[in-house]
Amino acid sequence: MSPETLNPLPAPLGSPQPAAGTPAVEAEGVCRRYGRRWALVNVDLSLPRGSALVVAGRNGSGKSTLFRVLSTLIRPDRGTTRIFGLDPRADLHSARRRVALLSHHSNHYEALTALENLEVAARFLGRPASRAALVPRLGDVGLAERADDPVMTFSAGMRKRLTLARTLLQEAEVVLLDEPYGQLDPPGFRLVDDVVVGLRSRGATVLVATHQLERGAALCERGLVLEAGRVAWTGPASDLVRGSGLEPASLAEGGA
């Protein structure tokens, strides 16, 4: 299946169509600060459509901030980002339509049930929001039996699964997964693997931030290592563990 046949979001009338060959995600000289600290410094990045990038780095290296900037949730203080050539500063709405972010906040309404959370999202996205349409989506992430339970009764892993279901609902062309393996059990790990493979087979561009280096390297063909907000290494994902120049043991400690 060629990427060009996939455009799940019917583009709104008049929205700019990217020229063939436009990179899906670009960042040039991106800097972002929080108060006194620069969380990202001079990050450059260019990903063609359909590619996949695994982003690694210690805690606090800026992975989440990078994903929040690339997904247009927050603006860079310096530098530019582009999604299919669209600059969020010029056309935020069109850029956001093409990107989905799995954040490490669960973004749920605790008082609502799993199904209701998806319903709310589906209505905003203009997608079918009936029970019949959404329960299968919950089934895809293993939550079908808990569809009518309030999210406040969910464990962390179940919350993560629901967030995954909601992110996939958007059917975006660029999907950023920030620590998708976090809080999940081994079946959950396999679920995330299947999701990434599925996204790629549909031609989506995927970025995964994770500490699970081997899994990330197996799913993606490119790798990038952040250290203290700067790009410390880029290269083929297969070299991520061996050739990144950083001690892989310290990077691979811990889950997520």
Partner: protein
């Protein structure tokens, strides 16, 4: 606009799930009205004269509770962020929230009217007009209140900041609503209720547009 209707459905769902809260706020409002009467004393004539003021003071105090609560569910897991990214226009999210808060405060106002009638002997034969004034006045509290609640729910000392910011701003609403309600209760020989209602309507028009425009700057980073 479909985004607005999606936002309204979301609010309705959230309100329905947390409906026990509305009952709690009503009890708060009713007990406030009771306490105000202790401040005046058992002088029925004085109580009747000031009943409108007590009603609106009670509503104002209760609004700080409901407004602060309205953003609680958005902020605890950052649900608002996910919606902004879908993308949903911030104005749609604002109006959904403001309308929901308006409905809540109006319902509270309507529910407090019988309490006021009983405690202060403050009946009126122009009940429809009184309910109308409640609608206009609570709209004036709701729009700036929603904007400020969005800010203060992400700041420190949020309990004190919201009333601190909101109260000076809504002085015209308090003045106009109290005057209009009072005239409806004690009699309006010169037909001034309409003018006060007009003032409320102007305040509402200005602030519902202004706050909708500014909401994006408050929630985007």
């Amino acid at each position: 606009m479909s985004e607005l209707s999606a936002a309204l459905r979301k609010e309705a769902l959230l309100q329905w799930r947390t409906r026990a809260q509305l009952a709690a706020v009503f009890v708060f409002g009713a007990s406030a009205l009771l306490l105000f009467s202790f401040a005046i004393g058992p002088d029925s004539a004085a109580l009747r004269r000031h009943s409108a003021g007590f009603l609106w003071l009670g509503l104002l105090l209760a609004s700080t509770l409901t407004l602060a609560e309205s953003f609680q569910s958005e902020m605890e897991q950052r649900a608002l962020e996910a919606q902004l990214l879908m993308p949903v226009r911030p104005a749609a999210l604002f109006y959904g929230k403001a309308i929901s808060n308006w409905a809540q405060l109006s319902l509270l106002g309507f529910a407090l009217v019988p309490v006021m009638v009983v405690l202060y002997d403050a009946g009126t034969d122009r009940l429809g007009a009184l309910l109308g004034v409640i609608l206009l006045g609570t709209a004036g509290l709701s729009a700036p209140g929603t904007l400020y609640a969005a800010m203060t729910s992400q700041a420190r000392a949020r309990q004190t900041l919201l009333p601190l910011l909101l109260f000076p701003l809504v002085v015209p609403v308090l003045l106009a609503a109290t005057r209009a309600s009072s005239l409806l209760i004690t009699g309006d020989p010169m037909g001034q209720v309409r003018s006060w209602a007009l003032l409320l309507a102007c305040f509402d028009a200005i602030y519902w547009s202004l706050c909708g425009l500014l909401f994006g700057r408050v929630v985007e980073d």
